[in-house]
Every structure is written in C-alpha cells, then in structure tokens.
C-alpha cells in the first residue's frame, strides 16, 4: 500500500481502478442508511422525527474530525520526506473536511432548534469544538490559496496543519472542562452506548459509506491535482526550449 502512495504513477493507476468501486459502494451504503432513516426507523422517544437527522449529523461529525487527522498526517509526511503526493493528499482533504464540518454544524443547528429551542449553545463542548475546527479548516485553505506558488502553499499548509494538529487536543480539553463547569441540566441528549440497535447499525453503515465517499473524493481531488501539475511541468518545459 505504501508503495502505491509513494509513487505517483502507481497511485494514478490504482486510484483509477479503485474510484468507481469506491463511489458505487459509498452510494449504496449511504442510500441504505438514509432509507432506514427516513422510512424505516421509528420516531425517537423524546425528539420525534427530528432525530432522524442524526444519520447525517453523526457521520459528518466523525468525518470532520478524521479528515483533519488525515490532513495533519499527510502534512507531516510531506514536511519530513517531501513526498509530493502527501501534499497533494493534504490539499485534497481540506475542502472535504471543511464541507463535512459545515454539514455537522448546520445539521446540529437545525436539530438544536426543535430540541433545545436554540440554534446555538455556547455551553456545549462539542458544538464549540466543531466550530473551532471549522475555522482551522478555513485557515488552512486560505493560507494555501494566498501563496504565490505551489511549493510555498505546501510549506505554509504543512506548518499550519501541524501546529493546528498538536493544538487540537489542548483545545478539546479546554473546551471540555469549560463546558463541564456550566452544563445546563435542561439539555436532552441521546447516549451513544444505549442507542437502540435499529438506530445504531444503519448509522454505522452510513458512516462507513461516508468514509468511502470521502476516500473516493480525495482520490478524485488528488488525480486532478497530479494531472494539473503534469500539465504545468509540460508548459514550463515548452516555455524554456
């Protein structure tokens, strides 16, 4: 596997073959979980139909965090070994992670309105952490976009992703103890472990489907990027000869 990702040619071959399968499988699994969500599972005891949004909200939340971790690892690999593909991967991961983060925030907010009576709750550690994560994605993408050249974008992106990644645990910790101080008692929440299996399995399958979709999207992004770079290299060579 490492061989595949170390070598652009092998990566292009592998991703070309894998892409259709990934998209297909992801589509099926997500479709299954949504079908379950909207037509099969019973309305939730306390929250009624609004709880069905969980099947989008929770996978989005998980992927928002997993994608940042992936981006940080890719940045680290690029910074140490200067593997161009690692930077390509980090670049492709960022907008996808930002999109999932936005979906998580958005679904959370429209879920919060009927359940808590408010769009936004500063006392909830998870909400606040996700918001901060969203800003970190935006910062990463903005700094890359602001650089004049690809090489500079890679360097700046790697610096900010690594600094961000080592700060994430501290931010999470601080937000957690802060929220634990004034946790309002009125909040109704579902508890993960006690979740009903009729909810849990479609949720897990949906989450897996989104993971595959994310992988497929990253592959697509990376492929475009590799091809753009080849075209640039060609143009540069033509310009000088």
């Amino acid at each position: 596997m490492i061989q595949v990702f170390a070598n652009p040619h092998r990566f292009m071959a592998f991703s070309k073959a894998a892409q259709p399968w990934l998209y297909g499988l992801a589509g099926l699994m997500i479709a299954y979980s949504l079908w379950q969500a909207f037509y099969v599972v019973a309305p939730e005891l306390y929250q009624g139909d609004s709880a069905r949004i969980l099947f989008i909200h929770v996978p989005a939340a998980w992927l928002a965090m997993a994608t940042y971790a992936g981006m940080a690892v890719a940045s680290f690999v690029w910074f140490i070994w200067r593997h161009e593909l690692a930077d390509t991967a980090a670049k492709a991961l960022a907008p996808i992670g930002a999109a999932y983060t936005a979906i998580c925030l958005y679904t959370g907010a429209i879920w919060g309105k009927p359940t808590w009576g408010t769009w936004w709750q500063w006392d909830d550690a998870r909400m606040v952490s996700v918001l901060v994560l969203f800003f970190m994605y935006l910062g990463y993408m903005a700094i890359r976009a602001a650089m004049d050249t690809r090489q500079k974008a890679a360097r700046a992106g790697a610096i900010i992703a690594m600094v961000g990644a080592i700060n994430v645990p501290i931010i999470k910790f601080s937000v957690d103890i802060w929220a634990s101080l004034h946790q309002p008692a009125s909040v109704v929440r579902l508890d993960g472990p006690t979740m009903d299996p009729s909810y849990l399995y479609p949720l897990l399958i949906g989450a897996l489907g989104h993971t595959l979709l994310m992988t497929a999207l990253v592959f697509t992004g990376m492929r475009t990027d590799v091809m753009t770079r080849r075209a640039d290299a060609l143009l540069l060579r033509q310009a000088t000869t």
């Binding site: 050249t149 143009l235 540069l236 310009a239 000088t240």
Partner: protein, 190 residues
C-alpha cells in the same frame, strides 16, 4: 576548485509560472569579482538571493564555505533606526569589534548619524547599508546594484573598497547595470 570562496552548479529558478534561468554555474576565488548582467527582470536579484541562501533554487547546489556580506535594495534599515543604531546593532549581533563612529565617518554619515532612516535621503540609506561591509571582515560580498543612489564621491569610495577587498583576498559577486568601475574577473549573463 578546492579554494572557491563560493560556488554554485546548475542552478535554476522559477517565479510564478516562469522559468527565469537554468543551468547557471559559477564560482569565485580569492581576488575575483563576478558581475551579473541581464535585462530588468532577468533574475539577477533572484540569483543573488539563491547564492546567499535566502531563496531556494528550483534545481542545483550552492556551496558557501565562507561567511558572506549581503547588500540589497531592501537595505535592512528600520524606519525609526538611525545609521548609528543600525551599525551598532549589527556590529553587536555579529560579534564584531568595529568602531561605529569611525565607520560612520568613513561612510560620510557623520552628519546624519542620528537621523532616523525614514528621514534620510536615498543615498544616505544606501551608504548606511554599505557601511556594514566594513564592520566585519567577510571574504564574500554579495551586492545588488551597490551604486544605486550613491553620489560621485560615494561611488568612487565603494569602487576603491571593492578593489581593496579583492586585493586582500576577498571576492565579490555584484549585479550591476552599466559601468562597474572596477575590472571584473568574469561575467554571468542571465
């Protein structure tokens, strides 16, 4: 060339989508002065920055066995800094035991020694930057359009300084438009 004070092989530089130059090799030994030539925007400043280790080359190697002095358009003066403060600061930062007062006098900066850089004339700012060359003995001088903004006297003095530096075993790489005012040992065209 074991005794090169500075050498570079097969350098290439790109800016934006444009390749400025490639396959540039050069080396300077004691007593030599290399002049970089080329039209505006050809890449002389970029090449000097690569030689100084400030910019990464797209390709190629630079070997920099000896300490260098760096003088460029951006003189390194802070707007509020006076020539005296500037020279004292860098003498201290480099651990050089130079006499700042005499350096100021030699550069013809005795009068405006305590005027903040943002009020200095263009030539006075350039003189201040050039005065750094005398604070510490460093074999290699990388200088970008060193004569710009200098009056006739200051120009003659710098030319004499370069000749003296070369005869005492130093080397110079300079980007210069027009007459250098000293006999270059070689030229690089970009």
């Amino acid at each position: 060339m074991a005794d090169a004070l500075l050498s570079a092989t097969d350098l290439a530089a790109a800016r934006g989508e444009r390749l400025l130059f490639r396959d540039v090799s050069l080396s300077v030994c004691a007593g030599e002065a290399l002049i970089l030539r080329g039209a505006n925007g050809a890449g002389k400043t970029t090449l000097l920055r690569i030689l100084a280790g400030l910019t990464r080359a797209e390709a190629g190697e630079v070997s920099r066995p000896q300490p260098i002095h760096w003088i460029a358009h951006r003189t390194g003066l802070k707007p509020h800094e006076t020539p005296r403060q500037h020279l004292a600061l860098w003498a201290k930062a480099w651990g050089a035991e130079a006499d700042v007062d005499s350096a100021l006098k030699a550069a013809g900066l005795a009068r405006p020694a305590d005027v903040p850089a943002r009020l200095l004339s263009a030539g006075q700012r350039q003189r201040t930057a050039l005065a750094r060359l005398k604070l510490q003995d460093r074999p290699v001088w990388l200088v970008d359009e060193p004569f710009s903004a200098l009056d006739v006297d200051a120009r003659a003095k710098l030319e004499a300084d370069i000749i003296a530096h070369r005869s005492s075993g130093g080397a110079v790489v300079a980007a210069i438009h027009g007459e250098p005012g000293f006999a270059p040992s070689g030229e690089v065209r970009l």
